[in-house]
């Protein structure tokens, strides 16, 4: 099993005729994802590289029974794209777009209950061997029983690569995105993984800034007594007050510091790796003690 995304997921690509949209539609298709079509207003009825194009999400859902969407539209149109998906009855949306106004996304995530949104500004979700809805390089993943949750895209690849090379495959990997407001948090993911019998252990990749890691640690302490969790925190060497790429990754005052996150994970009995390559070893140790 896996969470949220599997072989039955029928996926449309919003913005399929754009450069990135088409490139990744082809890569996802090659991975084995069921890409059932795409949406570009004004190009309905045509095909692009073999994918059926629709004018509206409503048309696409009607014709294909799509259940999932992935969004590549420019930031000023992203909120509209998410509302359109919600209106058409899509239950799961991955939003890749970077640079969406924070007020837009705030309104979207608080008014579209029933539709799970992953992102924005995220690499997507993959259940290895089943379906990849995102922009991750598929070949680094391996089927298995480790769940992975990450705020960062490229750090996810780094960690997944080391897990796969160590023989630790993954059930599902979720890149939740690094923006201040996101649709799906660490805790949302932990809750879903908690009920997945085919996920034996979890890797949580956080970074400085915000309090998502502290919330996740509290959830692990209170609700995940049996599933081993290992964490990593990016940006531990970052100075205070510098905004490092992600809008969310900033230490301001005593808020969002690595110390606070380390303390929270320690209190929850979650070991924190000092480098990505140390994660597989910690996962193995935790799995061995859990048995």
């Amino acid at each position: 099993m896996s969470i949220w995304v599997d072989k039955n997921s029928k996926v449309i690509v919003q913005g399929i005729t754009g450069r990135e949209g088409l490139f990744h539609a082809q890569r996802m298709h090659a991975y084995g994802t069921r890409i059932v079509g795409g949406v570009t207003p004004g190009k309905g009825g045509t095909t692009v590289e073999g994918f059926a194009v629709f004018n509206t999400v409503h048309d696409a859902v009607g014709a294909t029974g799509a259940t999932h969407t992935i969004i590549f539209v420019p930031p000023q149109f992203a909120a509209d794209a998410l509302y359109e998906a919600y209106d058409a009855g899509i239950g799961f949306a991955v939003c890749i777009t970077e640079g969406i106004p924070v007020h837009d996304i705030l309104k979207v995530v608080t008014t579209t209950s029933g539709m799970r949104i992953v992102g924005p500004n995220c690499p997507g979700v993959v259940s290895p061997g089943r379906s990849l809805i995102g922009i991750m390089p598929g070949h680094i993943f391996k089927e298995g029983r480790i769940g992975m949750i990450s705020r960062s895209g490229t750090l996810t690849y780094e960690i997944v690569d080391s897990l796969s090379k160590a023989g630790l495959g993954q059930s599902t990997c979720v890149g939740i995105g690094g923006d201040p407001i996101i649709g799906t948090t660490f805790v949302d993911c932990l809750r879903a993984f908690a009920n997945d019998p085919e996920t034996d252990a979890l890797v949580l990749c956080g970074e400085i800034g915000g309090s998502d890691e502290e919330d996740a640690a509290a959830f692990v302490r209170d609700h995940l007594p049996t599933k081993p969790v290992v964490a990593f925190i990016g940006g531990r060497s970052a100075p205070k007050g510098k905004r490092l790429g992600h809008a969310g990754a900033i230490i301001s005052g005593n808020f969002g510091t690595p110390e606070s996150k380390l303390a929270a994970f320690a209190a929850a009995g979650v070991p924190v790796a000092d480098r990505p390559s140390a994660i597989p070893g910690l996962v193995r140790d935790r799995l061995a003690t859990a048995r």
Partner: protein, 391 residues
């Protein structure tokens, strides 16, 4: 984008929040002329974005035109410095405002609460000081309310908060108007933060915003072309200026204290690379995230930006491609090094992920050998920076 006080107050006035009477001047003669035309006691407030401008000597008082001219001459062009801002900030404009007789000072702000995914209103009757100090010393003195965006602001919120924070009675009648206006500014202009500190109750019973702190979301600025002119008003710091000139996102470059240049794709990997360099005993000279899907040209410009820092002794380019394609990165590196006038430092490249094969082929053709892992790359670049060993 952070707004100057006078700009924030302009938005406040449009939303019906009372502010002191005043005028923006950039020339001492204009300051004198204004005071001559409006006799009375005036405050000359330096327009800077840094905090603590009063302690840095950025606020003066003038009762006549000559005094106004002299003090304005002293302030305009001056670089204000204090402990938190050792580099200081140059004063370009002054806001001349009527001096008000203060009965009481309060604090009110609206910001986005990330965890709650709602706007949060914060109030305290202890205005005029750093709210973080109040929070640390007397957390009970701060009243908070999370606004449901579907309902928006309603006057009861102001009443509830005013009673909870023990506001003097003189504030009560005006407060719903002030907070309602503040919420409108927050929503209409897509702000990350709107803050009035202090919100003043005057001796004659008026409630006015004596200061204004407004931070707008850069991603939402396209909706406000009318604010374009204000973009150049605030000083971009050196990092932001360098990022803009290179074609990077505003927060994708930051100078740090070490001597090892870093280029990575993605903020997480960029931070991870800094951490790896520290783990290997070195220190990063910068953070640089080329973002997702960077083309060769951006990679080349990023290389040039990093080596433009004379402290950089060696560089680590760490790429794990997802949306970024390895061939584009490799092409950019090769092109950057092809120039005769470019400064060359010992360079370690790690290139994996999307279009890795194509990228490695391009590097191989240029006789470059990428390392396999981040740990290995970090170790080698630290050795190179220490010993000046060329690959």
């Amino acid at each position: 984008m952070k707004l100057m006080e006078w700009q924030g107050k302009e938005l406040f006035r449009r939303a019906g929040i009372p502010t002191p009477r005043g005028e923006v001047v950039r020339d001492p003669e204009d300051a004198a002329a204004f005071v001559a035309a409006n006799p009375g006691s005036w405050v000359l407030k330096s327009q800077v974005l840094m905090g603590g401008r009063g302690k840095a000597g950025g606020i003066k008082f003038a009762d006549d035109p000559n005094q106004a001219r002299a003090l304005a001459g002293e302030l305009i062009g001056k670089v204000l410095k204090n402990e938190q801002n050792p580099d200081g900030e140059r004063v370009g404009a002054l806001l001349i405002e009527e001096k008000v007789a203060i009965e009481s000072e309060a604090y009110v702000s609206i910001a986005i609460d990330r965890a709650a995914k709602k706007p949060i209103v914060m109030l305290t009757a202890q205005g005029g000081m750093d709210v973080e100090e109040v929070a640390a010393r007397d957390p009970g003195a701060i009243a908070k309310y999370w606004i449901d965006p579907a309902i928006g602001f309603s006057p009861f919120i102001a009443r509830r908060l005013a009673f909870a924070a023990n506001f003097p009675a003189g504030f009560h009648k005006a407060l719903p108007g002030v907070i309602g206006g503040l919420y409108r500014v927050f929503m209409d202009y897509g702000a990350n933060l709107v803050e009035i500190n202090p919100l003043v109750l005057t001796k004659d019973g008026a409630v006015i915003a004596s200061d204004a702190k407004v931070e707008l979301d850069d991603n939402g600025l396209f909706r406000h072309p009318e604010l374009q002119a204000w973009k150049t008003e605030g000083p971009v710091d050196d990092d932001q200026a360098a990022a803009i000139a290179t074609g990077l996102g505003l927060s994708n470059y930051a100078k740090l204290d070490g001597d090892i240049g870093v280029i990575a794709n993605g903020a997480g990997l960029g931070m991870g690379t800094m951490d790896a360099i520290r783990n290997a005993g070195g220190a990063a000279a910068n953070f640089l995230d080329i973002g997702g899907g960077a083309q060769a040209e951006l990679v080349k410009k990023s290389y040039n930006l990093v080596v433009s820092d004379p402290r950089v002794k060696a560089m680590f380019i760490n790429i794990f491609g997802g949306i970024t394609r390895g061939d584009q990165v490799a092409k950019g590196i090769v092109e950057a090094l092809a120039g005769d006038d470019v400064r060359k430092v010992p360079l370690v490249v790690r290139l994996t992920g999307t279009n890795e094969k194509e990228g490695r082929a391009i590097l191989a053709a240029a006789k470059m050998n990428p390392v396999e892992t981040m740990d290995e790359g970090a170790r080698r670049v630290v050795e190179m920076a220490r010993g000046g060993v060329f690959p």
